[in-house]
């Protein structure tokens, strides 16, 4: 359907050129730098945990990815709400929402993986039916669903409308995940909830590393979203071209 002219037309290539701007380059470099520091400090400088040993180092990935995933989903929700409130003709908000959700799903997956690996080391199993774990899993599925809705097709406007509504409902799940621990602990008398915060002695460096981890992942998030958003813009441009071609084809045909 997409005629070749749509691929090598004059607007697309320099649009590709524009995907990377000084701003994104700077952010990218910053992200890499901080990430490097987290790796070094996380793996070598920070002390190993009394009980957990080296396993504790997973925290520097696990926690930041979790929190940044939250951030991503909140950004998605925010952008979606804005779009719903004042229907801007441009779909920039919609694309930001989409891009942010994609990265969020990515990070949530990292949380799940790092978490279950950590669990293997500390609890001896990859998975426990802990409320935090379960709710996290559902949050993950929710946003996979959100992305599926984005993939439904239809006009870009339709896509924006649908996904924005789903997103503004989905974001409400985050508090559920966050407070799941509290909720359950206060209710569920059988101590099925394992929160190891207590037995991690957070010394200064560990805390600093943890938070530089948060910063590093946040920067990475920002960097990826900016790129992704621009790529989505380009994809819409290409689809436009494809549509033009299709229309021309149908006009010529018959």
């Amino acid at each position: 359907m997409y005629g070749d002219d749509s691929m090598n037309n004059n607007s697309t290539p320099d649009a590709v050129g524009r995907v990377a701007t000084p701003a994104t380059r700077a952010i990218g470099l910053l992200a890499i730098a901080t990430m490097a520091w987290v790796v070094v400090s996380g793996l070598f400088l920070t002390p190993e945990d009394a009980i957990q040993g080296d396993a504790v180092r997973i925290m520097y990935v696990h926690v930041p990815t979790a929190w940044v995933a939250y951030l991503a989903f909140i950004v998605t929700g925010g952008a979606s709400l804005c779009w719903l409130v004042k229907k801007t003709p441009t779909l920039i908000l919609d694309r930001v929402a989409g891009a942010s959700a994609e990265i969020g799903v990515l990070f949530m997956a990292m949380t799940l993986i790092s978490g279950s690996l950590w669990g293997r080391l500390t609890w001896g199993t990859y998975w426990v039916w802990d409320p935090r774990l379960t709710t996290t899993a559902f949050l993950f599925v929710t946003y996979v669903g959100y992305l599926a809705v984005r993939g439904l097709g239809g006009s870009p406007h339709q896509r924006a409308q649908r996904s924005a509504i789903i997103a503004s409902l989905a974001v409400l799940e985050i508090p559920l995940v966050h407070f799941s621990v509290v909720l359950w602990r206060s209710l569920h008398q059988s101590a099925s909830v394992l929160r190891p915060n207590g037995d991690i002695k957070m010394d200064g460096l560990m805390l600093f590393t943890l938070f530089s981890g948060v910063i590093a992942f946040s920067l990475t998030f920002l960097w990826l979203v900016m790129h992704r958003q621009r790529l989505l813009t380009l994809r819409d441009v290409i689809e436009e071209k494809g549509l033009e071609a299709a229309i021309r084809e149908r006009k010529d045909g018959t």
Partner: protein, 230 residues
């Protein structure tokens, strides 16, 4: 549109749905046998009263959940079978009313099912429900059902609007109703006094259910229009 209109439309739609169900008995004949089977099967699978008691709560709500899918699918199947949904959309009917009507019909059908299930659990699994915890049980039933119905109506309608909907519905529905399932299970277990839970422990969960129902009630009323009309 005015609340009056919304409510009138809701009544008309709900009546229509329930009448169709009365005529065709599709849901009843599909769902109730299911439900019964779940209970009996488990009575089989673990013939041990203590165990049975422990799973009772979870089973009741799991069965309800399955039924939700069937009920929701049927509920919007009748709209899409002969293109009635298009006609409704063209008729410019207040979508909030449609949403409410659909949800109401779902509530009625689900409640009947749940009562059967709880009854079954009481008989087969010898769970005891003290009068004290009866209040808890009933509130839990009502709120959980409301929540499920709202979610079902919202996403069911959304999915019905687009091709390849069947593939989408579970993906949207499952994570959304998981909290209800958990909350309702816990509350029910508390009401059943399972594994030493006392009634008071159930109420916080009922609170969760209430919040959920409220969120999706409001969300549905406002979002249903945009969702199906696009």
């Amino acid at each position: 549109m005015s609340i009056g209109t919304t409510w009138r439309v809701a009544r008309v739609v709900a009546t229509k749905d329930l009448r169709i169900e009365m005529r065709s008995r599709v849901v009843a004949n599909q769902v109730l046998p299911f439900a019964g089977l779940v209970l009996i099967m488990f009575a089989f699978a673990l013939d041990d009263d203590i165990l049975l008691e422990r799973v009772a709560g979870g089973l009741v709500w799991l069965a309800t959940l399955f039924s939700l899918f069937i009920v929701v699918q049927r509920s919007f199947g009748i709209e899409t079978a002969d293109g009635a949904l298009d006609s409704i959309r063209v008729a410019g009917v207040d979508p909030a009313g449609i949403f409410l009507g659909k949800a109401l019909a779902l509530v009625v059908q689900l409640l009947i099912l749940e009562i059967v299930l709880i009854g079954g659990a009481v008989v087969l699994y010898r769970v005891r429900v003290e009068p004290a915890s009866l209040v808890l049980l009933v509130t839990c039933l009502l709120l959980a059902t409301l929540g499920l119905a709202f979610v079902g109506a919202l996403f069911g309608g959304f999915a019905a609007g687009i091709r390849g909907r069947e593939t989408l519905l579970p993906l949207l529905l499952l994570p959304a109703i998981a909290p209800v399932l958990i909350g309702a299970t816990k509350a029910t277990e508390a009401a059943f006094g399972i594994s030493g839970m006392v009634t008071s422990e159930g109420w916080p969960w009922v609170g969760l259910l209430a919040v959920f129902a409220a969120v999706f009630g409001v969300g549905g009323l406002s979002a249903f229009g945009p969702l199906i009309e696009e």
